[in-house]
């Protein structure tokens, strides 16, 4: 990704709620899955890789199904890929059954262990590193990006995993200082909301609960990040919709 494009995306992400890196990585994930559906899955080296990794991981496999349902409404790309993988798995299983020994079972168990990580996970990791590297460059006091520095100073900071990664990456003490100051302020405000939420639950407390309602949700996001929460909008029931539609068409 180009440096200029990254700065635009970071500017947008820093004005939204939550960790900006998580947000960009989620969006990158969805872009990659779209590309994977169109072209990516049919490349020769990708097929070999998918054979070894037994398809995509849990998160990306279901994201693939949801994305295809949302964008193409047919599931053909996913079905073609998994049909091919099923044939391979079927053959492996058939061979394992011929020997019927405990040793053969253990060997089969090993072969069912995805060897390389899911290709989409590998891409995501690389992309997250790029975003983090770009962010620490933009935050640098020399040669940085004034707008991003200002936006970051006003933002809610990063989730803990991305904060730690950035602390390890940057070579500027000023960036470390800025990261810690923003994070300290975010933690203090979230703690105050959590206190308020608990106080309003006490007996006799009449005040209605406001935006502190989901403070603990945001606290969990801050502690662990929010990389896998990505779902294209409106796909919560897409699985059911597609199934019922297919049956209805039939």
């Amino acid at each position: 990704m180009s440096f200029a494009l990254l700065s635009i995306e970071l500017e947008d992400a820093l004005q939204s709620q939550g960790c900006a890196v998580c947000r960009l990585v989620q969006e990158g994930d969805q872009r990659y899955i779209r590309h994977f559906l169109w072209e990516g899955k049919n490349e020769g080296h990708m097929l070999l890789r998918l054979k070894r990794s037994l398809g995509l991981c849990h998160h990306h496999a279901w994201l693939l199904a949801d994305t295809e349902d949302l964008e193409f409404k047919d599931g053909l790309g996913t079905a073609t890929l998994y049909d091919w993988l099923l044939d391979i798995a079927h053959e492996t299983l058939r061979k394992a059954r011929e020997t019927r020994t405990i040793e053969a079972a253990k060997r089969l168990a090993t072969s069912l262990h995805p060897q390389p990580p899911c290709p989409a996970c590998a891409i995501r990791r690389e992309f997250a590193e790029t975003v983090l590297w770009g962010l620490q460059q933009f935050l640098a006091p020399v040669g940085g990006h004034e707008t991003i520095r200002n936006l970051y100073a006003k933002s809610g900071g990063l989730c803990l995993p991305h904060l730690l990664a950035l602390l390890r990456m940057t070579s500027f003490p000023e960036v470390v200082q800025l990261l810690l100051e923003v994070q300290e302020r975010t933690l203090a405000s979230l703690l105050a909301e959590l206190e308020l939420f608990q106080r309003k639950h006490r007996v006799g407390e009449q005040a209605p609960i406001g935006k502190e309602q989901d403070a603990w949700n945001r606290a969990l996001d801050l502690l662990a990040g929010r990389l896998n929460g990505a779902r294209p909008p409106g796909v919560a029931n897409s699985q059911v919709n597609r199934t019922s539609r297919m049956v209805a068409e039939g």
Binding site: L54, G55, L56, H58, A61, W62, A65, L76, T78, A79, Y82, D83, L86, A89, H90, L93, A96, R97, R100, T101, I102, A105, K106, L108, A109, H113, L160, L164, L167, R168, M169, T170, S171, P173, V176, Q177, L180, Q183, E184, L187, L191, L194, E195, Q198, H201, W216, A219, L220, L222, L223, A224, R226, G229, Q239, R242, T243, M246, V247, E249, G250
Partner: protein, 245 residues
Amino acid sequence: MSLHLLYSRWRAALTQAGCPACRIMEAVARRYMITLVREGKSHDEVYIRIQRAWGFCEGHGRMLKGISPAKLGDGMSPARLCSWLLGALSMRLSKALQSTRTSLSPRIQGRRWLRRKRPPGEGIAKQLEVEGRCPACEDLTRYERSLLWGLQRLLSETKGEETIRHLYHASHGLCFPHLRLALEEAEEPSSVDLLLQVQEQALSDLSWNLKEYLRKHDYRYRLEPMTQAEATSCLRAIALFAGER
């Protein structure tokens, strides 16, 4: 864990659609999270484990968010836990921040910076980093293993249970991640044989359904009616490889 308890869990799960191990684990994980957050967190040892991991992994955090607040004391239990965790994190962060606010002159700071071998934030990151695995992952992985050990035992011809063998025979087998665990735990060839026999049949059926699903998308056959099994085959194939949603 008692084999009797596992028997009842498997017996109930084997009558449902999809990977029975995924179904059991989903229910167990939800119960575990509710108990841990409502009661468990107040025990010193448990809380220390949670704090060392700074809460939960992203997946278990998401699961917690998906549980109805009513089951979590109107959200009070997770709110209290999060405020403990954020309080501890805030204290560590303040300490780290103080260490960066030095009274040294910029010239001395600059010289130190030039002599440094590690990135300036490395020490702080070390102070804040996670010191243990997500407690839910740790405990549930152990449970999952004993669950699959129980299955292979219940499927054994000599030490097993006829009802479970019968139910498993009629089922669609396990997803691959759980089949791998069951095979790793396998102690007897008879269990392996049944596990693989059912799995091969399930794969064969699913493969046929998926091929039909693809064929009926061809314009020449698109008027042929699609069965429920064919319509769901694509999603079932994903569940087979990656586990249930």
